[in-house]
Symmetry: C2
Subunit: 345 residues, 2 copies
Amino acid sequence: MSSLEFTHRRKNPLTGDWVLVSPHRNNRPWSGATESGSSEQLPSYDDNCPLCPGNERASDTSNPDYKDTFVFKNDFGALVSDNENVVEQDTPEFIKADVARGECRVICFSPDHSKTLPELSKTEIQKVIDTWQSNYTELSKQYSCVHVFENKGAIMGCSQPHPHGQVWAHDHMSTEIAVENDNLAAYQHKTNKNLLAEYIEFEQDNKERVIFSNEHWLVVVPYWAAWPFETLLIAKDDVRHMGQLTVQQKASLSEALQILTTKYDNVFNCSFPYSMGWHSAPGNLGDDSHWRLHAHFYPPLLRSATVKKHMVGYEMLAESQRDLTAETAANILKSASSTHYKKGL
Amino acid sequence: MSSLEFTHRRKNPLTGDWVLVSPHRNNRPWSGATESGSSEQLPSYDDNCPLCPGNERASDTSNPDYKDTFVFKNDFGALVSDNENVVEQDTPEFIKADVARGECRVICFSPDHSKTLPELSKTEIQKVIDTWQSNYTELSKQYSCVHVFENKGAIMGCSQPHPHGQVWAHDHMSTEIAVENDNLAAYQHKTNKNLLAEYIEFEQDNKERVIFSNEHWLVVVPYWAAWPFETLLIAKDDVRHMGQLTVQQKASLSEALQILTTKYDNVFNCSFPYSMGWHSAPGNLGDDSHWRLHAHFYPPLLRSATVKKHMVGYEMLAESQRDLTAETAANILKSASSTHYKKGL
Ligand SMILES: O=P(O)(O)O[C@H]1O[C@H](CO)[C@@H](O)[C@H](O)[C@H]1O
Ligand SMILES: O=P(O)(O)O[C@H]1O[C@H](CO)[C@@H](O)[C@H](O)[C@H]1O
């Protein structure tokens, strides 16, 4: 199926949501908000940064003089483990609440304040992956739903430029995991097949939307992408959660992450902001054979380092809307170089 | 049920989504992005503005010398009516697309470039409501789903400061309307009652989250609010879509809108950005007795005119998260004055 160059909608099979695609709208003029581009070169060490090695953090503790990754409990986490409260259950159906119990951690990717993921070496990225995995494994013993994610760039609410991500773990299935779980299970129930395994085959045959592929991973602009340069990174093997990744799969992942994030930075020659995160099978399922480990990348930039797509009125009240098709975005990402633009500077 | 001051989740009965509430997190420090406050006073007429009376728009046509509201077809609309294409239907289940046909219009609220909704008189606001209604009525003859909305402020992707909103109309039910329709219908099927009618009664008895109430309208911070100062504006009478509003209901609405948007501006003494929009029963239902006309207001500001809530990593990959409870937000909005701060300047 080739690119559709007229107004249409596409359905996201993981969420059930549709996205409105308006390819004819690519050329409209823009006089709205622009974001400040973050081209300034940061120092390798900043004595005001609470994530830099040796510095003091908010809660009177000091960071160790760490050499690769460093993990600490978020001093202002949205979840706390120590929560023995109960919520009244005898309420009308439209007034439903539940206690939430969990833990939030911060993962520093590198001691170097100035670096971002694509600027790390493959070995350094593998260290990040190892740290994601060990934290996932540890927390999933205690909590059934573990979210490993990264907000990159001030535009994505990232409060510290120091390269870092987060892990939030909790007992309950979050909304997105519950919805994906339902859709993945329904597909498997109906077809006896794994949705993402089938989707990988489809995209590999089709090639149009594939950005990168190696032994263990596929990076694709999903057919149903909502954000302009949204991508999906999927394990090719039958891996259901982060805890199961082997050494080979992690080495292969480090290459995929380096190439994808480098291509992102090269689209507009800037540190490309995004929110990314992993979706693993929740721990309390019993049979999780309908799952496949994957990561979503949601980058907001649309047409330059300073013009982003706003998911606002229509998008919040109706459904996501995009101008550029998934296929056009895939072409741009495919032609972007795999060598980081800063290396040529 | 009084405010829950520990970490918990609340369920949105209109969407089925949950929101994570972390009241203990209100005091965390903030060193992330701040937005530029828009305190500059705009002129009443700007000769570069494509929405001002008499000016030329992109497509070689000139605006009339309009005196209250003015409507035109969006020259760069995301939907077009003239779309006879077809989409191949013989595809795998995870590759679903459909043609979309529709129309996008822009509604200027006032000829005065410098004004925003709360700065208009009640009579002027009523003119806006009349215009919403007449466009709704006209378009719903042709399209089953008509979205009337406003993006206010550059931070909400609004590309022109001139006061205006939009109408997007189409054949298909958008994702949010389809989801609300399912949830409203399921509730009515189960209880034989109208969800929003019941909810109004509950909030009126409870009072805690009610911001404003008059003969025909209730403004409430919904129990399940995701955005810091999110509100829901609900018709008290059995009105299912915008086309049904009577003269009395519209007069009463103009008061509710004026007070709500004035209170918003007074929270941080700034033009409070938001996306707002109406949810009407779609036109192709037959029985729509489970519907109740309502508007959602989604404002992004969190703690000042320049610090917004970012719905990013965790929120995109798991579920919405908030610090301030709905009850605290309601208290702040209740205590905000109903006289616009600029009137005292
Ligand atoms: O049509 P406008 O005001 O130029 O555009 C704005 O509203 C639209 C509808 O919510 C969005 O799709 C755009 O991303 C936003 O910038
Ligand atoms: O925890 P941080 O990085 O300070 O905060 C950022 O990420 C969180 C998780 O996505 C969001 O809830 C916050 O709105 C955002 O600013």
